[in-house]
């Protein structure tokens, strides 16, 4: 019994010469990997146009229902959100919205320092969420590859897109 007591005393004492595991946070910033799930942003495509097409999939996927948006349509046929609102006081940073997004528009970033004194300030509007870059996916532009026709790009003119099937060619 005594030898085990002395042994545990010795083992604990040896920790005096170990490195601390503590990261002294405000002074020392921890490294966060690029795919860290932090503050949510809305990205833009390489042309600088916003990527979000207001499909509502993120809002559907969101477990705490903290995303709210309204679709509107431009004259050229593009869809975009009229407003896009994330209530970060509810958000659990699960990243399901990013997984659900078909256009890489919504992305999570390695930033978690978003404390506020006023709860209302935790509600981010579209202009708070939009950033000026493409985020993690530099080349992707939804309307360039998608089959959706917009002004200046008809059916079948997208990147790698086949011609639309001509019904008259079908041997029915």
């Amino acid at each position: 019994m005594i030898s085990s007591l002395l042994r545990s005393l010795w083992l604990v004492f040896r920790h005096l010469f170990r490195r601390n595991v503590t990261v002294q946070y405000p002074d020392e910033q921890p490294y966060l990997p690029p795919r860290y799930r932090g503050r949510i942003v809305l990205t833009r495509d390489p042309d600088g146009d916003e990527r979000c097409v207001a499909c509502n999939l993120c809002a559907v996927a969101c477990p705490p229902d903290c995303i709210s948006l309204q679709k509107t349509e431009d004259e050229d046929g593009r869809w975009r959100p009229e407003f896009f609102r994330i209530n970060f006081s509810r958000c659990i940073m699960c990243g399901l919205c990013e997984d659900a997004c078909p256009t890489y528009a919504i992305q999570l970033t390695p930033d978690f320092e978003m404390s506020e004194y006023d709860r209302q300030n935790m509600v981010y509007e579209k202009e708070d969420l939009l950033i000026n870059g493409p985020g993690k996916y530099h080349e992707y532009s939804f309307y360039r590859v998608a089959g959706k026709a917009i002004a200046g790009k008809g059916k079948g003119q997208g990147l790698n897109e086949k011609k639309p099937v001509d019904l008259h060619d079908l041997n029915l």
């Binding site: 007591l5 005393l9 083992l11 604990v12 004492f13 920790h15 005096l16 490195r19």
Partner: protein
């Protein structure tokens, strides 16, 4: 009575110096303990307030002073208020007999050791009365444990030191230190040292013998109902008792201020701080025994060993003539 004014000034300086040093050291010990425990758990401990976190003590004191001094409606108020005072007063009085260095020390009683026992026994009243006056079941359980633990550990605490007393031929702590000129008593009295160390830990209610507090089972044991500076006094009292036990072990077994090259006071403080660090290491490493284990360990192992130590030491001394 001091014969000359010079002696009187010396005495007054000694009294106030030791009082102040003891209280300041006990307060600083809260920081030392948290820092050391931190290092032993691979973390820095409190290091934000002041250089190395030294001013943490000040911050804690400010906090305790500004906390509401809550008196429970159901408590026995006079006893409740008195209890924390007893432990601090008893422990500070205990420092009176400690000879820190050849000319530092309040008084040389020829019953110095007995005086220490009296004071450490007084400290039990603080815990028991505080627990009783709180009128709280957890506090009562803690107080019961404290009473039983202290009564049974006090028995062989005294017996374990009789070997030292026999070797030195005196209860006077200064004489005991001087008797260690040819060799510290830790060698001939190692068993006595080990028993006294264990009893000392139990006496100051430190882990692994902190059953009166036992925060997992009894919330905070005997001081459950205490808050603010009254709690602070219990707290400082505990640290004072660590200091007191450490300086007593230094005096009795480690040759007090004796040592080469360095000044006597430095030697004394060095030995004492090592013992304090040992106390903190014990807290960091060892689990708390069950209550019945504590009791049977005391009565079935420590008491017979202390008696054996007494018998063998006495026999050897008689045999050598």
């Amino acid at each position: 009575m001091p014969a000359t004014t010079g002696e009187a000034v010396h005495l007054v300086l000694n009294i106030f110096g030791i009082l102040l040093a003891a209280v300041v050291a006990a307060a600083l010990l809260t920081w030392v303990e948290r820092r050391l425990l931190g290092f032993w758990q691979d973390r820095p401990g409190p290091n934000r307030v002041g250089p190395f976190g030294l001013l943490q003590v000040v911050a804690d004191m400010l906090k305790l002073f500004f906390k509401e001094d809550f008196l429970p409606r159901f408590a026995d108020i006079p006893v409740f208020v008195l209890a924390p005072v007893i432990v601090m007063a008893a422990m500070l009085l205990g420092f009176a007999v400690i000879p820190f260095a050849p000319h530092i020390g309040v008084i040389d009683l020829n019953i110095g050791l007995l005086f220490f026992f009296a004071m450490s026994a007084m400290a039990v009243y603080s815990v028991v009365l505080g627990a009783y006056a709180s009128n709280n079941k957890y506090a009562l359980l803690g107080g019961l444990r404290a009473a039983a633990q202290t009564v049974s550990y006090e028995v062989f605490m005294g017996l374990s030191l009789m070997g030292v007393v026999m070797l030195a031929g005196s209860f006077d702590l200064r004489t005991i230190v001087l008797a260690q000129r040819d060799g510290w008593f830790i060698l001939p009295q190692f068993l006595g040292f080990a028993i006294f160390l264990i009893a000392g830990i139990a006496e100051s209610h430190r882990l692994p013998f902190d059953l009166p507090e036992a925060e997992h089972e009894l919330t905070a044991g005997f001081h459950t109902e205490y808050s603010g500076m009254k709690f602070g006094m219990f707290f400082v009292g505990e640290y004072l008792s660590i200091l007191l036990i450490s300086s007593l072990i230094t005096t009795l077994f480690l040759g007090g201020w004796l040592g080469p090259w360095l000044p006597p006071l430095v030697w004394f403080l060095l030995k004492m701080s090592l013992l304090v660090a040992l106390f903190i290491l014990l807290r960091g490493a060892l689990p708390r025994p069950r209550y019945d284990q504590l009791m049977s360990f005391g009565w079935k192992w420590m008491l017979p060993l202390a008696l054996l130590n007494l018998l063998v030491t006495g026999g050897l001394l008689l045999w050598r003539g």
